[in-house]
């Protein structure tokens, strides 16, 4: 295990600062306190997967071996402050996305707690959209799913469509989304997701969608969102985009927080580790 450098000693800073009212004081927006997340996966076929084997297990009252527990996040603690943008790095499957979902309150914690200011939101509405519906209807549905009112969606509708550039090559917005190319669909999704202002914003590798010009536009939009949002979390495998956007970085490995500190230091250690 790598040596744990503690660039930001959370506890000390927490007790040392003046109360929130003082201007310039650091106001915490997200506090994770010994957070554990466990996934339960059914039907993994651990052991014999046949029906007779399953029946045998039931008859002999053995615990089902078909359920496997994945301890995705193991006791992570950190404090994020207003105005910070925090990068999350780590190899695939190290628990980065899971951590973000837990902070957003979408995955229940097995142990520990996450305290947040307001409602953190993940940037992404993919799950709410339906491929069989027209782009138009998806804009409305996605907006509503993110908690916007009908009026807000109507107000921002033109902005969303223009930003996505879907209509640059003809009237595509009135066609079902399944007729879009994957790039077009990704652009529309990002445009819908980015239409809402967030208190605490979490972005999960959203930068790598669309063609070059759209990437530039979306990077600019993320910078805008960052200015409006209190705190931004960014998960990415692109160290450059983390360096560009984040001033603090958390390094997760096997669900444990390996390092928490200024981006340059953490990325240097991360690259040396690989």
């Amino acid at each position: 295990m790598a040596e744990q450098t503690n660039g930001t000693d959370v506890t000390e800073r927490g007790t040392g600062t003046a109360p929130a009212e003082t201007p310039g004081a650091r106001v915490p927006t997200v506090i994770a306190d010994d957070l554990h997340i466990v996934y339960r996966v059914y039907g993994t076929g651990a052991g014999k997967g046949s029906a007779t084997a399953a029946l045998n297990r039931i008859v002999r009252r053995k615990p089902s071996t078909g359920v496997r527990e994945v301890h995705a996040v193991k006791g992570v603690s950190f404090t994020a402050y207003r105005g910070e943008s925090i990068g999350l790095i780590g190899s695939n499957g190290s628990g980065k996305s899971t951590l973000l979902k837990a902070v957003a309150g979408l995955l229940p914690a097995e142990r520990g707690k996450v305290y947040t200011h307001g409602q953190p939101s993940l940037l992404g509405v993919n799950a709410a959209l339906m491929n069989d519906l027209t782009g138009e209807k998806n804009v409305l549905l996605g907006g509503l799913a993110m908690g916007m009112s009908r009026e807000q969606v109507r107000e921002r509708y033109d902005g969303i469509v223009d930003f996505s550039g879907i209509n640059e090559k003809g009237d595509f917005i009135s066609l079902p989304m399944r007729t879009y190319s994957s790039g077009m669909a990704a652009r529309l999704r990002f445009s819908i997701a980015a239409a809402k202002d967030h208190d605490v914003l979490m972005i999960d590798e959203a930068l790598a969608t669309g063609d070059r010009s759209f990437q530039k536009r979306s990077e600019a939009r993320i910078r805008e969102l960052r200015k409006e949002a209190g705190t931004v979390f960014l998960v990415s495998h692109n160290n450059k985009s983390i360096r560009d956007t984040c001033d603090r970085t958390l390094w997760l490995e096997h669900g444990e927080l390996l390092m928490d500190g200024p981006t340059d230091e953490v990325i240097k250690a991360y690259e040396a580790h690989r």
Binding site: T29, D34, P108, A109, H117, S121, D132, S149
Partner: protein, 311 residues
């Protein structure tokens, strides 16, 4: 909406090692700045308020689901009408022509079709409810909204589907010589009560199905059994005539919510189905079941709000 924090837990030993146990300092820090637990279950009134705030999402999601169902078919939305029509035709072929279960029921075709449509509404709502959470984990894990939106939305989609079926039913009734009367208006309260009942039941099933996805495999059998016990193809009052069944069986057959809602609809629509064939206190039963299922279902579903999305 977040909940206020509980009072601090008793402090563990001095200077706990980081990453191994909850840190009391972090909790105090969170409290001092008014931070709230992420993903905590809101109070019941607050939850209801949030749900009301999301009403447009619920309706849009329902109609989107329904539209998306038929977009790849060539006949498109026409299937919304064709499906119930074909359903009715199949049941008529089997029970009306082949088996001939008329069993002393006048206007058998309207009688049968009404029963089939009303029960299908119940059946589909329960089935959709069972899969409401477990079939939409992606959505539950990606966005924040009161989870009750999902079962309610699915039931609303079923209601919308039923309204198409009712249109088909009206045509069938006219074809079989039923003349629209004022009693047809009773459809509105009967359907409203059934919708509340269905939604409540769907919410119960949604919570059970979220914990045990296997229920989705089991439910079709339970629902089919329920259908045969609910007098969809036969008249319960005709069956009960001249038989001396134990009292509890009679109460059970007559109090069965599915039978209650089916009979109310028949009473509203079919002239030859008179009040005499209705079980006693039928409107009280209909309202009681709706109230019971609605309240119990909603509270039961809300109780696990913060746990949906796992597993």
């Amino acid at each position: 909406m977040p909940q206020t924090l509980a009072p601090p837990a008793p402090t563990p030993g001095p200077a706990p090692a980081r990453g191994t146990s909850p840190d009391p300092e972090l909790r105090t820090l969170a409290e001092r700045h008014g931070l709230t637990v992420s993903g905590a279950r809101p109070s019941l009134p607050e939850y209801t308020r949030q749900l009301w705030h999301r009403r447009h999402f619920i309706t849009s999601f329902a109609s989107a689901k329904l539209t998306a169902m038929y977009t790849t078919a060539k006949l498109g939305q026409l299937w919304q009408v064709l499906t119930p029509l074909l359903n009715a035709a199949v049941y008529y072929l089997i029970f009306g022509v082949l088996i001939g279960t008329k069993r002393g029921v006048p206007d058998y075709v309207p009688f049968l079709v009404t029963g089939v449509f009303v029960f299908t509404f119940l059946q589909n709502s329960v089935m959709a409810g069972t899969r409401a959470i477990s079939g939409n984990l992606g959505l539950v894990r990606a966005l924040h909204f009161p989870r009750a939106c999902l079962p309610i939305s699915f039931c609303l989609a079923q209601l919308q589907q039923l309204l198409y079926s009712m249109g088909v039913l009206a045509v069938i009734l006219l074809c079989f010589g039923q003349v629209p009367t004022w009693s047809w208006l009773l459809v509105v309260p009967a359907l409203t009560l059934q919708f509340v009942f269905n939604t409540g039941l769907a919410m119960v099933m949604a919570r059970l199905g979220a914990k045990t996805p296997d229920l989705a495999q089991l439910m079709p059998f339970i629902m089919r059994t329920w259908m045969y016990a609910s007098g969809v193809m036969f008249s319960i009052s005709v069956i009960l005539q001249g038989k001396h069944l134990p009292q509890f069986v009679v109460v059970l057959l007559n109090g069965n919510p599915a039978a209650v809602y089916i009979d109310l609809m028949r009473f509203a629509l079919i002239d030859s189905f008179t009040a005499k064939q209705l079980p006693p206190h039928v409107w009280a039963f209909a309202a009681g079941w709706a109230l019971l299922a609605g309240v119990v279902g909603f509270v039961y579903f809300w109780k696990a709000e913060e746990r949906y999305g796992r597993g």
